[in-house]
């Protein structure tokens, strides 16, 4: 029983971790090599990952998919290790309100990216979320592009730092609130229920209880 509970807990933690890894912003240092637009018909499983058509537009059977082609510095272990360069393709989609990036300016981002094509030594930080899953044609969604000095630039995940600090504070706050609720509301209610229950018992039952307790 304890093993079952432990496995469920680990499974839930893994799912939460994967969810956060998918949704939280990551930063890549990259060089834009091109932008492309293509008409796609998304499958059911792709729809899980893709977001939506441009804000205000109607979702149809077919849709445009905007992509940004880049060459980026490869990173491992959440950006701690970096070595070599490789290609990366980002999709460029409005997020709307979920995941809560509130991005409605995909067209502007496409224009920004297009302006960088051909500038060989202009490196940029691409803030994105999501994963590249090649066998399902899933791309991370680029949220913003900002220029940096060169490929040695190391972005620092300030947002994620504050996010996790807030998450930990929130966890302890919720735990304190729950404990206070149990101590001040649930326990007294249970006690008073037990007291009133005891009052209803006969003398014989009380005597029996007294023996049971020993």
């Amino acid at each position: 029983m304890r093993n079952v509970r432990r496995s469920i807990r680990i499974l839930l933690l893994v799912i939460a971790g994967l969810y956060l890894h998918y949704t939280l912003p990551h930063h890549d240092v990259a060089r834009v090599t091109g932008v492309s637009d293509r008409l796609e018909r998304l499958s059911g499983i792709q729809r899980l990952f893709y977001n939506q058509v441009d804000m205000g537009a109607e979702e149809g059977d077919m849709r445009d998919l905007r992509l940004i082609n880049t060459e980026r510095v490869k990173t491992y272990l959440f950006g701690l290790l970096r070595s070599g360069k490789g290609v990366m393709v980002y999709r460029n989609e409005d997020t709307g309100v979920y995941p809560p990036y509130f991005k409605f300016d995909s067209s502007d981002l496409e224009a920004e990216a297009a302006a960088l094509i051909g500038k060989e030594d202009q490196w940029v930080v691409i803030t994105h979320y999501g994963w590249r899953i090649r066998w399902m044609s899933i791309y991370p969604n680029a949220v913003s592009i900002s220029p940096v000095e060169g490929p040695e630039y190391r972005p620092f995940p300030w947002f994620n730092l504050f996010f996790f600090a807030f998450l930990i504070v929130g966890f302890f706050m919720a735990r304190a609130m729950w404990r206070q609720f149990v101590e001040r509301t649930v326990d007294p209610a249970v006690e008073s229920f037990e007291d009133s229950y005891d009052e209803g018992k006969s003398r014989f039952q009380k005597w029996l209880d007294g023996w049971r307790r020993k």
């Binding site: 309100v97 304190a176 206070q180 509301t185």
Partner: protein, 89 residues
């Protein structure tokens, strides 16, 4: 439409959080007042009975700035979302 749904849903969640935090804050204050009275009583300095001491303390708490600070539960996320929309777009 998406925004309306988001705003309504967000306000409902924030209201639940606001309600829970203010209940928690009141409960902690009440517990402290009870402890203070017990201390006073142990020293033989309790002037009023326990119940009225606690009730007086609670009405003083209601008038203080602390319960109003819990309104930040609404203010902070609204500011955060506005800043995010401005920065991203």
């Amino acid at each position: 439409m998406q925004f309306v749904r988001f705003a309504v849903f967000g306000l409902v969640i924030l209201t639940v959080i606001y309600w829970a935090v203010s209940a928690y804050s009141r409960s902690v204050r009440r517990e402290k007042l009870e402890e203070w009275w017990d201390e006073l009583d142990a020293e033989g300095r309790a002037e009023t009975d326990r119940e009225s001491y606690v009730e007086d303390g609670m009405s003083a708490y209601d008038k203080s700035i602390r319960p109003k600070l819990i309104l930040l539960v609404y203010v902070i996320p609204i500011i955060a979302v506005s800043v995010l929309i401005y920065v991203i777009n």
